[in-house]
């Protein structure tokens, strides 16, 4: 039984059809990447998966046991956040609220969970640092730790590597790979960095309002579309 099934999805954004005819499945433990240019409907699809936007037609169904609140989400950074006075711990703990029901305060278990995720992302020493004083890559790790606090089995990432330098990106890719392979976390990632994504992901969905390609990363490399987007670098 797949973790997530999308069937004949149609969604619109600002009155226009943003995507149509999208069908795919994500199995437990998959590393699934959605690629495409700006305006190809990736972000709208993501909003649909998170339940922030309702599809016009088609269906999105999760396996029983996956609650919408149990999805770890890594959104794109906003301007508000870049100058936000908060400690790393405060930010990461806020990920625990999603599982907290109506309790007003954090429990000791929440705090342990936050610490554990900071360690997993190798930023435990930044616990008391000020979020706005961190580098872009460190901030992204903090937000990833927050997402992990919320995540049961599924992680949803929206362009996690935008604006990061190659070395920092490589570090984050390595971490994601580790979370996927060693911890068995299912990852769905949106990206326009096709080159790097193909090396990481198991499955690729290439969107341009309609799905242009859907299959394994290997098949994508062999396909006409994949070759066009990956350029000559495929055989190297």
């Amino acid at each position: 039984m797949p973790l997530l099934v999308c069937r004949d999805l149609v969604m619109s954004y600002a009155g226009k059809t943003a995507l149509s005819g999208v069908s795919f499945e994500v199995a437990e433990g998959d590393y699934f990447c959605i690629v495409g240019e700006n305006g190809s409907g990736k972000s709208t699809l993501l909003k649909g998966l998170l339940g922030l936007k309702r599809p016009d037609a088609g269906e999105i169904s999760y396996a029983p046991g996956i609650r919408r609140e149990g999805i770890g989400y890594l959104p794109q950074q906003t301007d508000v956040q870049k100058n936000f006075p908060a400690s790393v711990m405060e930010v990461v703990l806020s990920g625990c609220l999603n599982n907290g029901g109506w309790r007003p305060f954090y429990t000791r278990r929440d705090k342990e969970r936050a610490m554990e995720n900071l360690r997993r992302l190798e930023i435990a020493d930044l616990k008391n640092a000020c979020y706005r004083e961190l580098s872009g890559g460190q901030q992204q790790r903090v937000l990833l730790a927050r997402a992990l606090c919320a995540a049961g089995r599924l992680l949803l990432l929206d362009e996690p590597l935008v604006g990061l330098d190659p070395l920092v990106s490589a570090g984050l890719y390595r971490l994601l790979m580790k979370l996927n392979r060693e911890n068995g976390l299912t990852i769905i990632m949106i990206s326009h960095d096709v080159q790097s994504v193909v090396k990481q992901a198991d499955k690729i969905l290439h969107m341009h309002t309609k799905p242009l390609f859907y299959g394994t990363a290997e098949e994508y490399r062999q396909s006409e579309l994949g070759r066009r987007f990956l350029g000559g670098a495929v055989d190297a």
Binding site: L52, V80, A86, E90, S94, G95, L97
Partner: protein
């Protein structure tokens, strides 16, 4: 010094002003942190002008001022949120539109029926004599309610302020918390505006938060620092305004400005020092 304090507290109006003012400063400092960070700080300004209009109507009709102003301002808060969320008029413009209209309507109403008089001046710039004993109970009760709600929802308000999309994806009803913020702000503004003045009350919301953010590096320390600053500024403003017979609202605002400049300077010095130690 002791004699002076005994003299000060022998006046009923001073005690009332101190009590209500302390609560209002505390509430507005707490709410202000979220409002400033979410770029909603002008909501306080807009609401105070609407409150002025409502007070004018109440004065003309001879009704109890708070009973008219509280529901009207709450309605305005709800409207402002809706306007900035879902219309082609952007948030700041919508607030400007509403607040100028309400202020104009209030001034018009009072000057036509009563002529330009001290009432008008008092509403606009506040008066230390404005608090009656019936107001004190209501103000205290409502302020305590605001403080309690704030503490209970502290973590969730943080989450919604820091990252609305993440909070919403995690099943937190962000619309509810935004509405809560607006309603609590509306309450606080109405409670404080007769003492601070319709034109100056929004400074209680904006100043302590901004000042605290110059130096504090965690959310909790910003909250605590802003609260302490707000109360401190209010007390010293009240005492100075009593001593030198200056308008209370304006005195409090200027003391807030003083602290803001001081904290900005300190933050500048700290940054200098850090970049200096980095370059070595």
């Amino acid at each position: 010094m002791l004699d002076f304090l005994v003299e000060l507290f022998s006046y009923g109006f001073i005690v009332r002003a101190l009590l209500v003012g302390t609560f209002v400063s505390l509430c507005s400092a707490l709410l202000g942190v979220s409002l400033v960070l979410k770029r909603y700080s002008m909501i306080g300004d807009g609401l105070s002008h609407v409150g002025f209009g409502a007070l004018a109507v109440a004065a003309v009709l001879g009704w109890a001022p708070l009973a008219v102003a509280i529901p009207v301002v709450m309605l305005a808060a709800f409207l402002l949120l809706r306007l900035s969320d879902a219309s082609r008029i952007k948030g700041d413009a919508a607030i400007g539109l509403l607040s100028a209209s309400a202020l104009a309507a209030g001034v018009m109403l009072i000057s036509v029926t009563k002529g330009m008089n001290t009432d008008l001046l008092n509403y606009m710039f506040g008066s230390i004599l404005a608090m009656q004993s019936s107001d004190v109970w209501l103000s205290t009760l409502l302020s305590v309610a605001v403080l309690l709600l704030y503490v209970i929802f502290y973590n969730r308000l943080f989450a919604v302020t820091f990252d609305e999309n993440f909070a919403r994806a995690g099943g937190i009803d962000t619309g509810f918390y935004k509405a809560l913020l607006a309603f609590l702000t509306a309450l606080t503004v109405v409670l404080g505006m007769r003492m601070m003045g319709a034109l100056l009350i929004s400074s209680l919301i904006i100043f302590p938060a901004l000042t605290a953010m110059r130096l504090c590096r965690t959310y909790r320390s910003v909250i605590i620092c802003a609260s302490v600053l707000a109360v401190l500024c209010f007390w010293s403003g009240l005492i100075l305004s009593y001593l030198y017979e200056t308008p209370t609202g304006a005195t409090v605002v200027l003391i807030n400005l003083l602290f803001f400049c001081l904290f900005s300077l300190l933050s500048l010095l700290r940054r200098r020092k850090r970049s200096h130690s980095l370059s070595e």
